[in-house]
Amino acid sequence: MMDIFLTALGLIFTPYVLLVMLGAALFGLFVGSIPGLTATMATALLVPITFFMDPVPAIAAIVTTVAMAIFAGDIPGCLLRIPGTPASAAYADEAHAMTLKGQAEKALGTSLVCAVIGGLIGSLVLATTAPLLAEFAIQFSSFEYFWLACLGLSCAVMISTGSMVKGAVSLLIGLFISTIGIDITAGYPRFTFGSVEMMGGISFIPAMIGMFAVSEVLRYVASSHEKLQVPQQSIGNIFRGLGPVLGRYKLNLLRGGVIGTAIGILPGAGADIAAWVAYAVSKKCSREPEKFGSGHVEGLVDAGCANNAGLSGAWVPAIVFGIPGDSITAIVIGVLYMKGMNPGPTVFLNQPELIYAVFVAFFLANIALLPLGFLAIKLARQVLRMPQPVLMPIILLFCLVGAFAINNTVFGISIMLVLGLLAYVMEENGFPIAPTILGIVLGAMLEDNFMSSMIKSDGDLMGFFSRPIALVLGIVTLSIWFLPPVIRALRAMKVSRSSW
């Protein structure tokens, strides 16, 4: 055990990996602090570059970028009332109200320190629960994996914002896209229309760049913009007076971290939902709920802690079961498959040093957030003055080269364009896009486990319930599908009967 840990440390503490992490950190801070560019987009733009790295630096780069970007989203939220990433939206009003009261330093300092603590709590939970869960998951067969994938995807649909039917449509589109290409069980080319390039299937990297980056550029073009009014006041010592705040709200820190991690673990819910829930819980449990909204630091502690904790939480189901907790880990799972580090409990047996290196990267990234986040706050005014019209064409060129680089054909660019337009239309009309990416990533695994289970049980559907864990997972999944409509129907019957 100790030697695995030392090997993992050795994998991370090399000049190359540390340099990659530093570069990723600066990139994450930059993207996160620019309103309109999200942490997911940062990951999407980063993946083509990590494609050419070894597994450890590749994963460390993603971990670092995301942790930095989620914190950096707080900076424009606080100074301009425009959250830099959706995960900061829950408390952008509150942080900005503090800025108006002349407490910008306190707000930013609290955000930064809470982000670090939240990230560390999440990392700790990840590093302790994932190996235990993996030991349990090693007994799973295709039946359990089939139900787990169903459960994960159903949660993603349930939790997605807006209408559930639209979430389901989004997921099914993703699953359909995953069936394009050579079929895994019989080797038959499906929906390829004779095209050789389609036979390889829809590569996940161009798909993801299209859905998360190109669609954002299109949305930027279609929306109206005013020039950002960057406040002139200079930012002094952000750590002054922080001790009493943290001492007073130490329970909030713990609560925010735990809520964030737990929500992160739920498939489909990520850092943004974690922040909303933690903020709401903080207000509900506070002794001074009337102060919320007027520039009160308490909610910031909970929510700032929760969103960074949620990031690590999302990795628990991702590496143990291969079921992503949010759209960022969906991208990560795609990357892990490409690196031959197929997520699942066996990776803990075969390549434990790689998994522990990921945990070390999490701790290191969150600790490095303290000095680097401080630097980002100091440079915030310059970064926010950066003209956005210049950025959009540059991002587009990055997308284009990234989509090309995976298979070295322009077919990747076509996939990116088509899915980018699709994602734009979907988002405009209230269809969430995260389930589509989950569908594309998990489709092959779902079908593989479904088909091998069908063949094993010779088409007998009861076979899916023949093992105890499969039975429990199956019942939970089916009740998620069928209980809400049944309850709604019963309630409607009751209402009609009482009015009658």
Binding site: I49, F52, V165, K166, A168, V169, L172, I173, L175, F176, T179, D183, T185, A186, Y188, R190, F191, V214, V217, L218, V221, A222, S223, S224, P387, P389, V390, M392, P393, I394, L396, L397, F398, L400, V401, F404, A405, N408, V410, I413, S414, M416, L417, L421, V425, E428, N429, E447, F450, M451, M454, I455, D458, G459
Partner: protein
């Protein structure tokens, strides 16, 4: 651009029927009762149900939700042009990059887009040149991505 749910519902219904019909033509796996068509047919079936639900919902809300509601930006010709320029630029790249090469195509694409975003001409040119060269160096030199040289093949560096 917002469309009534029923428009999506009907489109999904047609799409799912096409998927099912096409998947039914896949050959069965020898010796197995289930072939490559099973999973696509199940997805098509589920999509068809969602399509029906959306159609029903859109039809019920047809008074409050028009069939097509163009956003404010769609009336602004300039914005529509900028919007169309992005897919057009990508298609342009797909078609000509092999012949022209990455550097000229990317330069042209960036310059046109930057000008369209109202960046000054000299600044646009400078940004386009610097960005193209940086991206080319990162991907072609360090990551060894074979970006096409095209017309610049004789002077490839």
């Amino acid at each position: 651009m917002r469309l009534n749910d029923a428009v999506f519902g009907i489109a999904l219904l047609l799409f799912s029927l096409a998927v099912i019909a096409y998947a039914r033509t896949f050959p069965a796996t020898y010796g197995q009762r289930y072939g490559p068509d099973l999973f696509p047919v199940l997805i098509g079936g589920a999509l068809a149900i969602c399509g029906l639900l959306l159609t029903w919902r859109g039809w019920a809300a047809r008074r409050s939700m028009p069939w097509i509601a163009l956003g404010g930006w769609a009336q602004d010709r300039g914005k529509v042009l900028t919007f169309a320029l992005i897919p057009a630029g990508l298609i342009f790249y797909i078609l000509v990059s092999d012949f022209l090469g990455f550097v000229p195509t990317a330069l042209l694409l960036l310059f046109v887009l930057l000008r369209r975003f109202a960046v000054a001409p000299v600044a646009s040119l400078a940004i386009a040149v610097v960005t193209t060269l940086i991206i080319h160096t990162i991907f072609a030199r360090f990551l060894l991505v074979p970006l096409p040289w095209g017309l610049l093949q004789p002077v490839a560096w």
